[in-house]
Amino acid sequence: MNLLALMPFIVLIPLIASGVVALLPGRTLPWVATLLAALASAVIAALVLPEAIGQGPMSYPFGNWPPPIGIEYRVDAANAFVALLVAGMAAITLLWAPKSVAAEIEGRHGTFYALFLLALAGLLGITLTGDAFNVFVFLEISSLATYALIAYGQDRRALLAAFRYLIMGTVGATFLLIGIAFLYMVTGTLNMADLAERLPELRDNNAVRAALAFIIVGMGLKLALLPLHLWLPNAYAYAPNFVTAFLAGTATKVALYVMLRFVFTVFAPDYSFVVLPLSTVLMVLAVAGMFAGSWVAMFQIHLKRMLAYSSVAQVGYMVLGVSLATLTGLTAAFLHLFNHALIKTALFMAIGCVMYRTGSAKLDDLRGLGREMPWTLTAFALAGLSIIGVPTTAGFISKWYLVLASVEVGAWWLVALIVITSLMAVYYIWRVIEAAWFSPRPQGAVAVQEAPLALLLPTWLVVGLNFYFGLDTRLTVGASTAAAEALLGAGVALP
């Protein structure tokens, strides 16, 4: 079987399936079709990853038009890794979906799952494509589907959250488009590999500088980097639980990937980290995000919003790894990108189980629930250990590499900051555990049952993965290192 011919189907299967799923009647049928499509994508992505790591970049020209004339899908270790993460998280969250979606969304589910598949196809398309304008188109496909998915939330504030995300997301995407326009004006090409060849001659061109700045701000918006994160907490808090679990694991990760692809592949790192004070800017924003996100999370009483602010902090860790601009730093960024997807999805799934039974995600309504829903809250506590970074969890591995990367450049103060923000995570996770296990159930509270197995099993699957990847790091560290090497090229000397 020709793997290269199969590779574009990672994107095409969800894209085509979305049209079919939209027409399917009832509730079970659309879900089954969606799950099959996501699984197929994940399987192909899993086949492509070892090939991309072992054999180097794979290129698929669409319509047999050779690049740079035609659009190509270009897959190296970096995007194969992200594609596997996105497709895999989609398949796992879909296993969890049916009960939760049935409780939150009325009527038939065909259109809902069709939108989900469109969002998935968009995210995968962004990851695989080797064409700068194609990135913009796929970005908008996934974003538009995401706005609609968020608006499905039961609370009417979901509509406002979706609208604000639409405004900010569109501004971000348009910034990316402006950046691409500048690049096209000075180089006359949109193919990323081609751009990378032509840009070194234009080092002193102001349009190229502006392009880099526009692209970083645009993707910073989609990534929810600190001052541009305002859309994220409410969008995550009011979206349907299944959508939150999926987005938390994928959307910001893909945005980070796009930023890395532009910073490292299109503008080589010896350009982007020299012409702009990118290292300093990203480091300051990352540290500010780590602190502000964790700080605000400590005082949230709406648990989904608490986890959303925690996401802002975790994005900070990833960007911190990038800002070091070393191989270890970039490896840490990719590791945390992967591990945080597992952690946050597990946490949102556990909260989703609580909401399924109690209908509320507020801290007060959680009091004493530990004895009534022990499996759900144990899952939350264990995933919480992972976000804190306790050894044997996936969260520890990525923080460990981040610490290694900081020590490598002699920035001991960063190690201190990482430890302090981890302690803040201890506090906000502990609040939940304290309320659930050490507070009495309020008088007159309705008796609550344990969440159904259909929700518990996938939740525990992700929690299990958190511990599996905390102990066996061959896949994650191996693929992250390969991804970082693919982006940095053959060892670039940095200032």
């Binding site: 304008f133 188109v137 709406h302």
Partner: protein, 119 residues
Amino acid sequence: MTLLSFFNYWVVIILMMVGFYCVIARGNMVKKIMGLNLFQTSVFILFVSAGKIVGGSTPILRDGVEVYSNPLPHVIVLTAIVVGVAITAVGLALAVRIQEAYGTIEDDHLRDDFDEEDD
């Protein structure tokens, strides 16, 4: 005069800033979407400007035409226009739903409800 010869870029910048200001400063959601449209349109003009060649003809194959504009930006802008229309449609649909749910689409009236911690 160089300042005037770049007038298309001046138009782009002015449109862009007018649109962006509208998105930020206007509380009415329909006006926000209009601002967003203006903002995007300025980028379309930026792209089309890049493809124009002075003295060039339209990029249609016919006899006697040697110099013609670059057609690729036109195609890109067509795609971007479609994206823009889709965003406008989704945005307006959300505005309709917000009007139904809250009875207003003025951001100022909605802010208090939205930023409260809980119900």
